[in-house]
């Protein structure tokens, strides 16, 4: 088989392009001076790496209070948004899978359109809603906004899983005397679980990363991690702490994904030839 060196070279360059900023995120977390953002002092001497930002994070230094507060708020919002959007998304996917009527075509359009809308439009339209109802923006408006843009992604993920679902299993359960609730909780839900978990993970990532929609609906003083960071300037003294915190998050996710890969490998040995 003839291999194209050109395409492999482009792939290598693209991978480097994608990874250089990540590498720098890790490196910048060790910068000693948060104002100059440089490893060199004014005289041009190398000042060395510093772990002070990590120790400040772990000891809960006062200087990082606002940052850590926004970080925890992000986690709470993302967790709740994931739970709610998974619950709504599962029922929605089930309805879309099971029925094909006029109602479902409207339903499908409702679920699908947010996927092709730029974030900023969802953000501003929610802001308009809250303005029109004169609701004060804060925690609840952020949560509502996050659920709204997560639901569609969850539904699509679960629908993809439902396509492989063997509908005869439900009939079999009915034939064996199970009621609709029992069938749902003991047959359909366990089979759908991987899809729901995948959708939930997607929702969590989207929610914890969102800055555009949140910046419209967060109101004064309530900041999630991304909106807090985006409000920092280049010369904020705490910038290395942001990079350090991001490094910790990256490390945490990598470990989590690695563990889940290990567990899933232990549970089901891969079929030969795949």
């Amino acid at each position: 088989m003839k291999r194209s060196y050109f395409s492999v070279a482009v792939l290598a360059i693209v991978l480097a392009f994608l990874y250089v900023p990540i590498l720098l995120v890790v490196v910048y977390g060790f910068i000693p001076n948060g104002i100059s953002m440089s490893f060199f002092d004014s005289a041009g001497h190398f000042t060395g790496f510093s772990g002070r930002w990590y120790s400040m994070i772990f000891t809960g230094h006062m200087r990082l209070n606002a940052l850590m507060q926004s970080f925890w708020l992000s986690l709470i919002v993302a967790g709740l948004a994931t739970l709610i959007s998974c619950a709504i998304g599962t029922t929605s996917a089930l309805a879309l899978h099971k029925w094909r009527g006029r109602l479902q075509s409207i339903h499908h359009a409702l679920v699908y359109t947010p996927l092709i809308m730029p974030d900023i439009l969802i953000g501003i339209s929610l802001l308009m809603l809250f303005v029109a109802c004169s609701v004060d923006c804060g925690f609840w408006t952020i949560l509502i906004a996050h659920v709204t843009f997560c639901v569609s992604y969850v539904v699509m993920t679960i629908l993809a899983r439902l396509q492989d679902f063997d509908d005869r299993l439900i009939e079999a359960a009915y034939d064996l005397g199970a009621g609709p609730w029992y069938t749902f909780f003991h047959v359909q839900l366990p089979i759908l679980m991987p899809g729901i978990i995948a959708g939930g993970l997607l929702a969590f990532t989207l929610s914890i990363d969102d800055v555009v929609i949140t910046s419209f609906v967060n109101g004064a003083g309530t900041n999630t991690f991304p909106t807090y960071v985006s409000s920092m300037t280049k010369h904020s003294r705490n910038l290395p702490a942001v990079f350090a915190l991001s490094t910790l998050m990256l490390l945490f996710t990598c470990v989590l994904v690695g563990l889940s890969k290990l567990i899933s490998r232990d549970q089901q040995p891969k079929p030969k030839g795949k």
């Binding site: 050109f6 990874y19 409702l110 809603l129 991304p226």
Partner: protein, 336 residues
């Protein structure tokens, strides 16, 4: 699967949670935005009486420029993403199966770091004293040095009549290059947008390329096609669906992008997204922001509509071709 015209009670019950949520927080807000555009604004940041004044204000000569700039930058970003993603998708799909999953994972991995933090990393990297700026200067110097030999090329800041003199040309350009920073310019916005959206271009193309039958390419080569010709005539049409979804996955967020131009574009690169945010949050002119949002929705849905119409037409044409071909075959009795 039931095909009942009238939804049953069970159907309503299962549909209701998501339906109500999305009507309340997606459909109604969109209608409110549309309604607000037909209102004036009040001085204290509220929404005034019904009027067409907002649409009249939109004739502001700045806006066509901004809309055009947004669309142009989005096209640029999309073009770069597709150009880079095509060889990548091809390369990944040709890897051994075990490596494919690893490389595809490696492409998505950077996205577990917060988007804003990544933009900040770029901001730090592109700092006027940073190493990327130095590279950019070197590139600019090289470019001007290259063009200094060419007469009749307009060289900025070099005085009139001196452009032919290469020494003065270089000196003049050196000054100009030193003033040109990447940050706070369109270059930075395009660069970081490509960086942020590239995986969304690679992924759909890769999934399409994975299903592509590569023996077709070998067949084409056996029949005498050059590598690039086979790539263009066989591979690209083969993964067409993936390319279309990649274009949409990049173009839509690029049109709506506002964080990247805000953090890296300076005053040089204000796009519709930034204008919407400014009008809504800083000037508190809600109707105006709504009108701009409507404008943006139009500039997203028109290309989308065209793409979908084109896809449908393409499918119809394929079907037609197949029908004609079948008719031909039937007419000749399968002998050709």
């Amino acid at each position: 699967m039931k095909d009942s015209a009238k939804p049953s009670r069970a159907e309503w019950l299962v549909t209701l949670p998501s339906f109500v949520w999305l009507v309340l927080f997606f459909a109604i807000p969109a209608l409110i935005v549309l309604a607000f555009t037909f209102h004036g604004h009040t001085v204290n940041g509220g929404v005034g009486e019904w009027s067409l004044s907002t649409w009249r204000e939109l004739v502001d000569p700045d806006y066509p420029t901004i809309v055009w700039k947004t669309i142009r930058i989005s096209f640029e970003v999309t073009a770069w993403c597709i150009l880079l993603a095509l060889p990548c998708a091809y390369a990944i799909a040709r890897l051994p199966k075990r490596w494919r999953a690893i490389v595809a994972g490696a492409i998505m991995l950077p996205f577990w770091t917060s988007f804003v933090v990544r933009v900040f990393a770029w901001k730090t990297m592109l700092h006027p004293d940073g190493w990327l700026q130095t590279c950019y200067h070197a590139y600019l110097h090289f470019k001007y040095w290259l063009f200094a030999w060419v007469p009749n090329v307009h060289v900025p800041t070099a005085g009139a009549g001196q452009a032919n003199d290469c020494l003065i040309g270089i000196a003049g350009c050196a000054i100009d290059a030193a003033k040109t920073t990447i940050i706070d310019s369109e270059v930075a916005v395009v660069l970081v947008s490509v960086y942020s959206f590239l995986p969304f271009a690679i992924m759909p193309m890769y999934t399409a390329a994975e299903k592509f039958d590569f023996s077709l390419l070998e067949a084409a080569r056996d029949l005498g096609a050059k590598n690039f010709y086979a790539f263009r005539k066989i591979f690209i049409p083969g993964i067409w669906q993936g390319i279309v979804s990649a274009v949409l996955m990049v173009f839509i967020p690029a049109i709506g992008s506002y964080v990247i131009p805000q953090m890296l574009g300076g005053t040089d690169c204000i796009l519709i997204g930034n204008k919407i945010f400014m009008r809504a949050m800083q000037n508190r002119n809600i109707p105006h922001a709504s009108a701009l949002a409507t404008l943006m929705a139009v500039s997203v849905f028109v290309p989308m509509g065209i793409a979908m119409w084109w896809k449908k037409r393409q499918a119809a044409r394929d079907r037609k071709r197949l029908e004609v071909r079948t008719a031909q075959l039937m007419a000749t009795g399968g002998m050709e």
